[in-house]
């Protein structure tokens, strides 16, 4: 058999069929989704959503029809801190505020690429990359941080979601249309120098700003922060003749805040203390070094997205450490498209028995899966807990690892049942919107995590390895990125 598929070939395929099997399986699959009919009854009896390390989180939010999970996971991290500091039962930050500036910055970035490369042929791979990704919903941890650093954050009550903040299809449609129109306009003025082109850009960007303002509403610049605290949390001397003591709430107002002063006062997380670690085994020659993807960015004056690439066991060790010792929720990037039980909110590759249905195993290495585009990073959540054997955890946290091999063995022998994730797909599915990941799924489809620099450096120093600041950086083209977060298929 060479290139063509002949009728003889097909007949031989047909002859290899086990008729009895075909009859049975095709009946099973006729009206049912594949994953629904191959749930392994053994695995489904395991209780996965009980956790011994559990950072109790806030009620979950919903990204609605946006693909902004990468922003939500960051605002979840920040609102968690605010709620804890202020003793609030719940608190929500405005995601629309950040989405507004994300789009404004992406628009500027696109036009800058066009201006800087105005003499390049349109068929150039860089230009083609940007023409295919002109106004996407996607992003990365670093991009979400860029927005907060530059523009601060605001409570949701100050900038509520408009209809199109929840349904951004047409926002992106008009922005893309306008941006491409401006790009076409600029390319006709090729002969101008870069300065003059930028004057034109600034003039034209007004229309982008206007479209955004029409869709999202006005962006707050100065606001008052109001909230109320339940009585049980405040000093007992507060006295009110109008309310029963038990129901009393104390009202607080903080006037004339800017989004940045709000951030500095109530969030005050120094994002420079964090590093986005990744497990990209297809770049295993570059473990313990930084991979920087050119132009995977939104705010042009900041550095592009960079990952510290690590072997899985180091990656995993740091995540466990961050959650269980430092009690920090961990921003986590993964591939949500494989093995999801949406209703129960579980990602578990062992739950499904594709082997007996199709003679198919997901036995592909992570390296091959990335290289051959079987899997890519497309979703982010917050990891907030795990189910790990208590003595394992104790041993892990008490022991100092002096070299990588010992660490590797220790991680290998760990018994982790599952991980707990705070998702942003509303509270209807899973455990009120909290999802469970099996450990084997984590190994296969977990790619990125945000860890405190100090946690990483402490580990590295004890092993006498280069610390973060001494590590080399390798720069790669944007189209080699392992996927865009927000590019998932499940929302």
């Amino acid at each position: 058999m060479r290139k063509e598929l002949s009728i003889n070939n097909i007949n031989s395929f047909k002859d290899q069929l086990d008729e009895k099997w075909v009859k049975k399986v095709s009946k099973i699959l006729f009206n049912k989704q594949i994953l629904d009919v191959c749930i392994d009854s053994k695995s489904s009896n395991t209780n996965y959503n009980v956790f011994n390390v559990d950072l109790i989180g806030l009620p979950v939010e919903s990204i609605k029809n946006t693909d902004k999970c990468w922003i939500f996971a960051l605002t979840d991290m920040m609102r968690d801190k605010i709620a804890k500091d202020l003793n609030l039962d719940n608190f929500v930050l405005s995601n629309a505020y950040l989405a507004f500036y994300d789009k404004l910055e992406k628009a500027n970035y696109f036009l800058e690429i066009i201006i800087e490369n105005i003499h390049l042929d349109l068929s150039d791979r860089l230009i083609q990359y940007f023409l295919n990704n002109t106004m996407s919903e996607c992003g990365q941890w670093k991009m979400a941080v860029n927005l907060v650093k530059k523009y601060g954050v605001v409570p949701e009550s100050v900038m509520k979601n408009t209809y199109h903040a929840n349904n951004p299809y047409y926002v992106n449609y008009f922005l893309e249309w306008k941006l491409k129109e401006i790009a076409i306009f600029l390319s006709k003025k090729k002969s101008l120098d870069q300065y003059d082109l930028r004057v034109l850009k600034e003039e034209k960007m007004y229309e982008i700003y206007k479209i955004l303002s029409i869709f999202y509403g006005d962006v707050p610049t100065i606001f008052d922060f109001e909230y109320s605290i339940e009585k049980k949390h405040i000093a007992s001397e507060v006295d009110s003749p109008y309310a029963y003591k038990d129901f009393f709430k104390q009202y607080v107002i903080d006037k004339n805040l800017s989004p940045k002063s709000f951030f500095n006062k109530y969030v005050a997380i120094d994002f420079d203390d964090y590093v986005c670690i990744a497990n990209y085994p297809n770049l295993c020659n570059d473990y313990f070094s930084f991979i920087s993807y050119q132009h995977i960015n939104n705010v042009i004056e900041f550095e592009p997205t960079t990952f510290l690439n690590l072997p899985l066991y180091v990656f995993k060790y740091l995540v466990i450490k961050e959650i269980s010792c430092n009690k920090n929720p961990v921003w986590f990037g993964c591939d949500d498209s494989w093995f999801l039980d949406r209703i129960n909110g579980v990602w578990n590759d062992n739950l499904y028995d594709l082997k007996s249905l199709f003679n198919l195993n997901f036995d592909m290495s992570k390296e091959d899966a990335l290289n051959l585009k079987v899997s890519s990073v497309n979703h982010s959540m917050l990891l907030v807990g795990l189910n790990i054997k208590n003595q394992d955890l104790k041993a892990l946290n008490e022991k100092t690892f002096l070299d990588l091999d010992t660490l590797k063995d220790a991680i290998k022998s760990l018994e982790i049942k599952s991980w707990k994730a705070q998702n942003s797909w509303g509270s209807y599915n899973g455990d009120w919107g909290y999802y469970t990941l099996s450990d084997s799924w984590f190994n296969k489809f977990g790619y990125q995590a945000i860890i405190k620099k100090s946690t990483i450096n402490n580990m590295l120093r004890k092993m006498n390895l280069k610390t973060i600041d001494e590590m080399p950086t390798k720069t790669l083209d944007p189209w080699l990125e392992m996927g865009n977060i927000g590019n998932g298929h499940n929302m």
């Binding site: 058999m1 060479r2 290139k3 063509e4 598929l5 097909i10 047909k14 069929l17 075909v22 399986v25 095709s26 699959l29 006729f30 049912k32 989704q33 594949i34 404004l104 910055e105 500027n108 349109l122 791979r125 023409l131 295919n132 408009t162 209809y163 199109h164 349904n167 449609y173 008009f174 249309w177 491409k180 129109e181 076409i184 930028r198 600034e202 960007m205 229309e207 700003y209 206007k210 479209i211 303002s213 029409i214 869709f215 006005d218 705010v299 042009i300 004056e301 498209s337 494989w338 594709l354 199709f358 003679n359 198919l360 997901f362 592909m364 585009k373 079987v374 189209w479 080699l480 298929h489």
Partner: protein, 505 residues
């Protein structure tokens, strides 16, 4: 970093200040707080303008609207609708439906074979080779072209819908595609590390046999022989029966010569030449048929060819970009349906050629054209004036007839079920048609018939075009079709902006 590159606070303040002085801005912003933009810019007048009946309608009331559900099989549906129309007319049936999933089954199998062929061809190329990277991205996705459907039908024949009903996976291809993708890439991995070329083909065959198995249980087993009984809708006793026939034999019973059909393309994209054949690289999805190609023509020729089909009561496959100026509920595509520019107080470019080049506009959906509506009064007036003034006409004056044929709108059969639009039928305004319809299928044979007797002018009027009939027909066939068909194909790469006109919606 020059300060000029970034967005600084003073720039934002300047923009905001300008907005605050814009008196119309606030109204637009408020309107969208709780509403969908298409609901607040909708032009009801335009809907009324497009409401009347069609002067030419090939759609038969009794044939049922089909539904592709959550799959990208529009190109198969549109092809089979066209063949159905021919079949139903020939045997005077009430309705008939061919199995779309029968073709989708073999489409997946052939695409799998195609993918593995490409992996073998590219086995020594790095994975970031731009063509290979494109091939590796969703190799067995649902989308396709008319010529793919044509090749599949020619090879595998055709079966009635009840012989192979849509299974769950046929209607919802998402996870099935992932499974096939995984299986194929497991083989791709082996191929890339295999030194011996012959062994690569062995790996391919083993993988395809597994793919076949998965397809059989997800789509159901394709029928090999079946019985058919059809009856005339007026004379119920007139029954036609075929017993124990194969899909290929059934195809022969249908008077539809696939080889007679050519894909024509009109694109405003200036880099595509007219009267020229193009070949798209790496589209040999059915290996023995080679790459797909199309004939690029000018707008007059495109309209003429489309009309030659509809005027002879033949429905036809066509493809367009459905993402612009669309009301799904009303079933209307019309570029004046929404008043965006007034709403935003911003102009939007309609330089379609550049917008194609910059990848904002591209054909993405195939449907069936079922008729059109003309302004009869204007047509009469034009003809009267035209033929009075020009007692003797040059052959090339025929262009003027086409250019002045006052089409108002087009009648379209879609495959999105009968809930939206006018019970599944949709309307395209003529100005939208000019901007966003890029591809159609025409019959060469029919074109010849048309030039013997163009249906929209009388025999007498046609005689005014100088030269005798035989010479005239030859001249026109040559001018509009054969000259272009005889050109040497120009290759288009997989990355060409015009290349991605795969229908998939």
């Amino acid at each position: 970093m020059s300060d000029f590159k970034k967005i600084n606070q003073s720039l934002i303040c300047a923009y905001q200040d300008k907005l605050n002085h814009d008196i119309n801005f606030k109204t637009s912003q408020n309107a969208l707080t709780n509403n969908h933009i298409l609901d607040v810019v909708y032009n009801k007048n335009q809907e009324f303008k497009l409401k009347e009946n069609f002067s030419n309608n090939t759609k038969m009331e009794s044939t049922k609207i089909t539904d592709q559900k959550n799959s990208g099989r529009c190109w198969i549906f549109a092809t089979l609708n066209m063949i159905r129309d021919a079949f139903v007319k020939e045997y005077n049936l009430e309705n008939f439906e061919f199995s779309q999933s029968y073709l989708a089954f073999y489409d997946k199998l052939e695409k799998s074979n195609w993918f593995l062929n490409k992996v073998i061809d590219f086995k020594n190329e790095p994975l970031d080779n731009i063509d290979l990277a494109t091939i590796l991205t969703n190799p067995v996705s649902d989308g396709g072209y008319f010529d793919m459907a044509k090749n599949l039908i020619a090879k595998y024949g055709i079966v009635p819908s009840y012989e192979m009903i849509d299974s769950f996976a046929a209607k919802n291809t998402n996870f099935l595609n992932k499974i096939l993708d995984l299986k194929l890439k497991q083989a791709a991995k082996l191929i890339r590390s295999e030194k011996n070329l012959e062994n690569c083909y062995v790996i391919k065959e083993t993988c395809l046999s597994e793919i076949y198995k998965i397809l059989v249980v997800t789509y159901g087993k394709p029928p090999e022989k079946f019985d058919i009984e059809i009856s005339d809708k007026d004379k119920k006793s007139k029954v036609t029966k075929w017993n124990n026939i194969t899909p290929q034999q059934f195809l022969k019973k249908i008077n539809f010569n696939l080889d007679d059909y050519v894909t024509i393309v009109f694109t405003p994209f200036k880099k595509i030449m007219k009267n020229q054949i193009y070949e798209i690289e790496h589209t040999d999805f059915v290996a023995e048929k080679g790459n797909l190609n199309f004939l690029s023509v000018d707008k007059t020729t495109f309209n003429l060819m489309v009309l030659s089909m509809l005027l002879n009561e033949k429905s036809l496959w066509f493809a367009c970009d459905v993402d612009h100026f669309f009301s799904k509920k009303k079933g209307i595509w019309d570029d004046k349906l929404y008043d965006f520019e007034n709403f935003f107080d911003i102009l939007f470019s309609d330089d379609i050629s550049s917008l194609i080049e910059y990848r904002f506009v591209n054909s993405n959906h195939a449907m069936t054209l079922q008729g059109f509506d003309i302004d009869k009064e204007n047509w009469k007036k034009f003809k009267k004036k035209f033929f009075e003034k020009n007692k003797k006409l040059n052959l090339d004056d025929f262009d003027k007839i086409i250019e002045n044929f006052p089409i108002k709108k087009w009648n379209v059969e879609n495959s999105w079920g009968d809930k939206d639009g006018n019970k599944g039928m949709y309307t395209i305004s003529n100005s939208w048609f000019d901007k966003f319809v890029y591809e159609a299928i025409i019959s060469k044979d029919n074109l010849k018939k048309f030039f013997n007797k163009p249906e929209f002018i009388s025999t007498k009027e046609y005689e005014l075009f100088h030269k005798n009939k035989k010479e005239k027909v030859n001249y026109y066939l040559n001018k509009y079709l054969n000259q272009g068909l005889s050109t040497k194909p120009i290759k288009l790469s997989l990355q060409d902006p015009f290349n991605k006109f795969k229908g998939s919606k």
